[in-house]
Symmetry: C2
Subunit: 126 residues, 2 copies
Amino acid sequence: MKNIPNISESEWEVMNILWHKSPLTANEVIASLQETTDWKPKTIRTLLDRLVHKNVVGVNRNQKVYTFYPLYSQDECQRAETESFVKRIYGGAVKSMLVQFIEEESLTDDDIKELRKILDEKPKEK
Amino acid sequence: MKNIPNISESEWEVMNILWHKSPLTANEVIASLQETTDWKPKTIRTLLDRLVHKNVVGVNRNQKVYTFYPLYSQDECQRAETESFVKRIYGGAVKSMLVQFIEEESLTDDDIKELRKILDEKPKEK
DNA sequence: GTAGTCAGATTACTAATGTAATCGAATAGG
DNA sequence: CCTATTCGATTACATTAGTAATCTGACTAC
């Protein structure tokens, strides 16, 4: 349960690239992000530098061109972020959020089937 | 599906007060928040004013002391916020998030029971 | 070896957010 | 009536985030 620094919205985009594949050079990250955003290369570079500064991303400085890699797993960051989110928006009641989302239309029948299976297995592991 | 303005973290605290009970005077909101935060009255007042400015909170200016009330329901705001959250953190995959949270330890047996019930009823309503 | 290029470092500027304090008009007490 | 309080309006100032541009030293192509 480390204390993961806050990752801003734009920074998440960068992290998503690095979680998908790493280490990457700044240019590789830039190339990747330019498929989905219209950020200038310098902007992306700034985001990378900020993530390094926040200790969320590491750098290999042994090569002439640095490469970057995440210091936390995606799962860790998702959990940390979601925890603070649920606390803020749902007063910490995870269940309220789950209920709201299950009631929405955004799940396919297969999703539902899968969720039910997970729920069924859940109590036993305790 | 109105376009709800962004509500910042601190502003959410204020909104939570108003959703709990409204309309309230600024002083009532302040009193309420001082039980859980250490914000100065002026700070809370600023937050209220900003929410009014953003058109998330309404004001009755007919009395000498104004009263404030939410312009959106908590449910609406939660959904809006969660949607953008899920998109950012889970790439829009609601199911991934649900799975992650169901797998965590934060649910009681009763919660699980309730969720299962909701899931069971879910497909039929379509 | 001189000029252009490229990566990393540094600097820039705006908007939003966190966190208040000050100002001014109305009010309430004495 | 004059003063102190109170509330709303206005202003303030730091930090983070969004979005880049400039500067500088090394490398590359003439």
